[in-house]
Subunit: 390 residues, 2 copies
């Protein structure tokens, strides 16, 4: 799918390290930066020569933990399990790597296991996180679904955590609107958690993207949920918290987003609801109150550096991959078309076409209008100019 | 009650002008500033000599309106009607005049008709407005009453407009907590509007204050409601909007407050409620989200210039009026006492004692702790110092 800019040895080492270092650990992140993945793996693998070499500022306990986990690492098994579900490892340096994750510094993921057709980097360009309480109220679920659908209708990709409550409602709202959604998991991309979301997670894998820092086969732990939140925050342009109690995990995501310079937003609710107390706390600080998707887009759509689409396509058409070009060319010149007819015209499936259309949207080639897609006016202008000049 | 610093002729003229100029009219306000009340009244009274003299920038229509109303003015009747309900006229320059109203510039009221025992200026020093929709939801009524009670319990005076819905709930919340409340009316202080609030307005007149720009006998009109709002905004340190539809009158109060440099606050609600839409609009702008009285006090209590109480009493005890001194001396030296026992000790009624206690609170002599009152620690210190020095 994506051109791999990272060599096989490094890729192998990063695959192994996803099973060895704890997500978000800045000390191992520093080692990785200092030594590179291949050398770090060598030093952490107890049985390898040179395993005793010093790693700067290594607590004995952390080192022992890494070496202990290194014993159990089986990269072949990871790759096999990933392949079995159509997954891949995306590494820093790959074309598909979302460069905004570099804002995490030494807490940047070693690599991301990704499952689904779309290009993660393209999708993440115009994405917003919608997160909130697992035990949400019907009001929270309603608002999450409405935001998900509204963002999808405006061509935005919605990221969340696939949990019960607000996360699930947001993903479902997007899917119901034929939109693009990314679930960032606290487990492996082949593990279904929570079990009750088996069908939802399956649909996201088909129509969207599943993303995980941990290797296939990994199960979630409480600390992994918290650390997963920083990836959601870093991946997106902003985080909307729908319902959250005081000191809840969703607020951790919101605060990570703030620290990373992303927008943090909150949907207010009744003061009499404990499930809105955390959101109100956020809104009394840096958070911006939002009541619908239009207000979210108004806010996050403003940043120029991540929003090249506003100024027209950022890539010449020649650099797009062939399937994406076919989808782009399937769009009528002056009218809008729905996903199904674009897919038919391009000779591909609906899910594939949708994945490409959101990529094209991120790149500024197309716009979404309700259920339909059309060429962006700037793209049409560019085409006319080229024709005029030829 | 209060020492009148304003001469009889000027007071008479201002009483007449409250029935002649339209509240908030900046042109007549300018005339008043340029000519003073006595001369302005002379020029506006059609039958008086010199009535034809020019008034700068006077539209014919405005002048005709004023002269028309001047024909119907009967100051004797105003004063009689005010006296019949125990009311008085408070003028700029009077000891009881709340000087923060001067922030209104040429839209400052000509005078205020006041009904009730307490000293308006003292009460307004530490006051907050709680306003909102007439057709509020049970949630809005609950929040207004809770805020009213909570502010009262923290020793703050609550101003509102005596309307149905949020206003009424706020006043009732205060009264139920034995607190201090001011109703700023869009009609005369002897007119009961709305009729359904006859009992409530009667209780406010007994235990709190009724305030009106218009003379006794005046009835409300839609424009008078809107213009009344600027008085509520100017009188208080901040305005809390509880429920408000888009473009509602409560938002007018909030915006007036903003323009006057007062705090504007809003209580969020469900996004799905049209009655919270106006509040959320406010909170997406300059408004600060508040969820309880403690958060309101935290915000409005910060301004030093209007909050001398934080630094201890601002007036020497000798300058207090005799009844207030009796109430102050009725407080035990090192313990707290409820209003009833303070009243008994001071040989006065409960309502009178309450009025004085809130004045003493505004001046920093006493503090309210739940249902009880005690000497402020700074006041105790000052007393000790005096004793030590004697």
């Amino acid at each position: 799918m994506s051109a791999a800019a990272v060599g096989a040895e490094e890729r192998w080492a990063r695959a192994a390290l996803t099973g060895i270092v704890e997500p978000g650990d800045e000390t191992t992140g520093r080692w990785l930066r200092e030594h590179g993945p291949v050398e770090l793996l060598r030093r952490l693998t107890a049985t390898a020569p040179g395993a005793g070499e010093a790693l700067s500022g290594a607590g004995e306990k952390r080192l022992a933990g890494c070496r202990n986990r290194a014993d159990g690492v089986d990269v072949g098994r990871y790759l096999e399990a990933a392949a079995a579900v159509g997954g891949r490892l995306v590494c820093p340096g790959d074309e598909e790597w979302p460069s905004q994750l570099d804002d995490l510094g030494d807490a940047r993921p070693v690599g991301l296991w990704v499952r689904g057709r779309p290009n993660l980097r393209m999708w993440a360009l115009r994405s917003v996180a919608v997160v909130g309480a697992r035990a949400c109220t019907p009001y929270g679920a309603h608002m999450a679904a409405a935001l998900g659908a509204g963002l999808a209708e405006r061509g935005w990709v919605v990221a969340s955590g696939a949990a019960y409550g607000v996360d699930g409602a947001a993903h479902r709202g997007v899917l119901a609107a034929g939109g693009a959604t990314v679930a960032v998991l606290a487990c492996g991309i082949d593990v279904v958690y929570p079990r009750g979301h088996a069908e939802l997670i399956g649909r996201i894998a088909e129509q969207g993207l599943l993303v995980a820092e941990l290797p296939p086969g990994s199960h979630p732990t409480p600390s992994r949920f918290v650390l997963r939140n920083r990836v959601i925050a870093a991946l997106t342009r902003g985080t909307v918290v729908v319902e959250a109690e005081y000191r809840s995990g969703s607020l951790v995501t919101a605060r990570s987003a703030q620290r990373l310079g992303r927008f943090t937003m909150g949907v207010p609710g009744p003061v009499t609801s404990g499930l809105s107390a955390g959101v109100h706390e956020l809104l009394r600080g840096e958070g911006v109150l939002v009541t619908d998707a239009a207000e979210v887009v108004e806010l996050v759509g403003e940043i120029g550096d991540l929003a090249p689409a506003r100024r027209g396509p950022v890539l010449p058409k020649d650099l797009l991959d062939p399937v994406t070009v076919r989808v782009l060319e399937a769009l009528p010149a002056r009218a809008a078309a729905d996903t199904r007819s674009v897919a038919r015209e391009a000779g591909t499936t609906g899910d594939e076409a949708l994945a490409r259309l959101y990529e094209l949207h991120s790149l500024g080639f197309v716009e979404r209008r309700g259920d339909n897609w059309q060429l962006a006016s700037s793209a049409v202008r560019a085409a006319h100019t080229r024709r005029g000049g030829a």
